[in-house]
């Protein structure tokens, strides 16, 4: 039976747990940092020495930690790309620009347990020889920014930050930087531009890989809030022990944001892959099922840009049987283990681990129109296919949901969506705005065609024309 497993949110919702440093210290806070700072150099067989920070970086690799922001990229690998020979300062930025629709996990950490994030950040900075770090928090979380500023002040007062941290000679300063309502700032190079005081236009890679040419053209690490919290736990328990949580290649825990039409929407921390989509939605410990009398229609499994899953869809998943042999198992969408790899095999992604559930009361065309309006609003406008395409898709979907649709709109939408992604844009926003359209169309095309046809028919009647204007012309 699937269970919650609280690693990051262990204390956050305990009665009486407060975001101040005294409470955090009473719950074992900053012990991970003390441990990290005290790691002695290790002699290797070849006579070389591995420093404390190098050992932490190795341990993060061993842990198998994958980024919790959306891409699921190996954190240890990301850190290993950092250019450590440039002679330039290395910066670390915490991406707290939580804005992928459906996602509300980082908000819990920031508001309820800010010191856990700060401790994770200090350890990560120490491990990467970072002397200056920023927390980029979205503008719509003013309270979160205040809480973080207060927490930073407390951490400075206890010398967990500042000069000569706990007498180790290590200096680190950290500041909160607020966004101002632009989703594109969640894209790491857009975030960097924004932090530099510019419009958040994402940078083209290559050459602007943050690990080499990031903030002020210096090597920069950008990690999600939850990812950085995990680093603290990896140091405390050891990378190998962390890797035992979850499932192979999908280690640790994840905080799943569950919203939409379930009885118990909320955030649930699970071992990665140890609960299925169906359990998360229907188990009384999690979503508690749909509202009475309703049937499942669709699930958006990993934030609004992930490809939609249709109720009843089946997937062929590669799995290992008891003897370690690879077998193909036909799996219903509700039986997909909630992890990075299974959802990727199902053609979608767990993204920011945000599940939006839609029941049979939902008009699927309206649901997509809602998302397309979001993307049209949030395209930064830098690349033509995305700037124009996201607006055209929205325009088409708005007419489909306002009685002005056309039978060919479905096909037209598909054509636009197919011409935005695939290397035509600087950043992945092009993909993000197309995937919902492509997947909704692939799985619910009839709904779109029927809506357009009905609109045409109604308009023809209103105009006193023959039943089908198009037919009359043939």
């Amino acid at each position: 039976m699937a269970q919650e497993y609280k690693l990051i949110l262990k204390y956050a919702d305990e009665p009486g747990y407060t975001p101040d440093i005294e409470c955090y210290l009473r719950h074992g806070g900053y012990e991970g940092l003390k441990k990290a700072l005290a790691i002695q150099p290790k002699d290797l067989a070849d006579g070389k020495k591995l420093s404390g920070p190098e050992q932490i970086r190795e341990d993060v690799k061993v842990s198998g930690l994958r980024g919790r922001g959306g891409a699921g990229f190996s954190c240890g690998l990301k850190w290993s790309f950092v250019d450590r020979r440039s002679g330039k300062p290395i910066y670390l930025i915490c991406n707290a620009d939580e804005s992928e629709p459906g996602t509300f996990k980082d908000r819990q950490i920031i508001h309820k347990d800010p010191h856990q994030l700060i401790e994770g950040m200090i350890i990560s900075c120490f491990a990467n020889d970072v002397k200056l770090a920023y927390i980029y928090i979205r503008g719509e979380m003013p309270e979160g920014a205040k809480i973080l500023n207060q927490a930073l002040k407390e951490a400075r007062a206890k010398n967990f930050l500042g000069k000569n941290i706990l007498g180790t000679g290590y200096d680190l300063e950290m500041h909160v930087h607020r966004g101002a309502g632009a989703y594109i700032c969640g894209e790491e190079t857009g975030l960097i531009e924004s932090l530099e005081g510019k419009r958040p236009y994402p940078r083209i890679k290559p050459p602007y890989f943050p690990a080499v040419l990031g903030l002020w053209m210096c090597p920069t690490i950008v990690n999600n809030v939850e990812t950085l919290c995990n680093v603290k736990h990896i140091v405390e328990m050891g990378g190998a022990a962390f890797a035992k949580l979850g499932t192979p290649n999908n280690t640790g825990t994840r905080i799943v944001s569950l919203s939409g039409q379930v009885k118990r929407p909320g955030y649930y921390e699970i071992e990665v892959g140890k609960a299925t989509l169906g359990e998360l939605i229907n188990d009384p410990k999690f979503g508690g099922g749909l509202r009475d009398g309703r049937k499942l229609k669709a699930i958006i499994p990993g934030g609004s840009s992930s490809k939609v899953l249709k109720a009843g869809e089946k997937f062929k998943l590669k799995k290992k049987d008891a003897d370690g042999k690879e077998v193909i198992v036909e799996t219903d969408m509700l039986d997909l283990p909630y992890d990075f790899d299974s959802l990727a095999q199902a053609g979608t992604m767990s993204g920011s681990s945000a599940i939006i559930v839609m029941d049979d009361s939902v008009d699927i065309v309206e649901a997509l129109a809602n998302l397309s309006e979001f993307y049209a609003h949030e395209s930064c406008g830098q690349c033509t296919p995305c700037r124009e395409g996201s607006l055209w898709m929205n325009k088409t979907l708005q007419r489909l949901t306002h009685g002005e649709g056309r039978k060919q709109d479905a096909e037209y939408l598909g054509k636009i969506a197919d011409n935005i992604p695939g290397g035509r844009t600087i950043c992945a926003f092009g993909e993000a705005c197309s995937w919902p359209v492509q997947s909704f169309l692939a799985k619910f095309k009839d709904d779109f065609v029927a809506k357009g046809a009905a609109d045409e028919e109604r308009r023809a009647k209103e105009a006193g024309q023959p039943k089908s204007l198009a037919e009359a012309h043939h």
Binding site: T103, G139, E140, K198, G260, N370, L371, E378
Partner: protein
């Protein structure tokens, strides 16, 4: 209406600038500070900030005109932001937005922020506020409200004196 720099704003801005090795990086935070004190960002305030940051004013205008939260016009005393995006829409965000518009004599179908004639309220739809599990959600100024029923919405309105 002229832009006056209070000592506290000046001190805050100086502190913000000290957080970055490059002054320009403080731009967004400085604009936030100005808006927090004055309610919006005027031409005079941009020019003042530009001097502080040693930038041509265009560098600040280009971000004022990009970020939705930065305002170039005065806003209502109470700024009501209703989340519009999918989970909130499924939870009744459109009905909630309509309720505010109806109560305040605004057009529920108009695009963008609308301010009441008496300058007391600005109502607008905003994109995902990242609290989808407690939909529908909204903000009044910096205060956040979740699970907003119509009754709660009316209470919020009557609390805006």
């Amino acid at each position: 209406m002229s832009f006056k720099v209070t000592d506290s704003l000046e001190a805050e801005v100086n502190e913000l600038i000290s957080h970055y090795p490059v002054k320009r990086a403080a731009s967004l935070m400085v604009l936030h500070a100005i808006q927090a004190e004055h309610g919006w960002i005027s031409q005079e305030s941009v020019e003042w900030a530009a001097k502080k940051l040693e930038l041509p004013p265009i560098n600040l205008y280009e971000i004022v005109t990009f970020y939705p939260m930065l305002r170039q016009q005065p806003q209502g005393k109470y700024s009501i932001k209703v989340c519009r995006t999918l989970s909130c829409a499924l939870g009744g965000a459109y009905e909630l937005h309509k309720l505010f518009c109806t109560r305040l004599g605004l057009d529920a179908h108009a695009h963008g922020p609308q301010t009441t004639k008496d300058g007391k309220f600005t109502v607008e739809f905003v994109e995902c506020l990242a609290s989808c599990g407690t939909a529908p959600v909204m903000m009044v100024g910096e205060k956040f409200y979740e699970g907003v029923t119509h009754q709660k919405a009316d209470e919020i309105l009557s609390g805006c004196k």
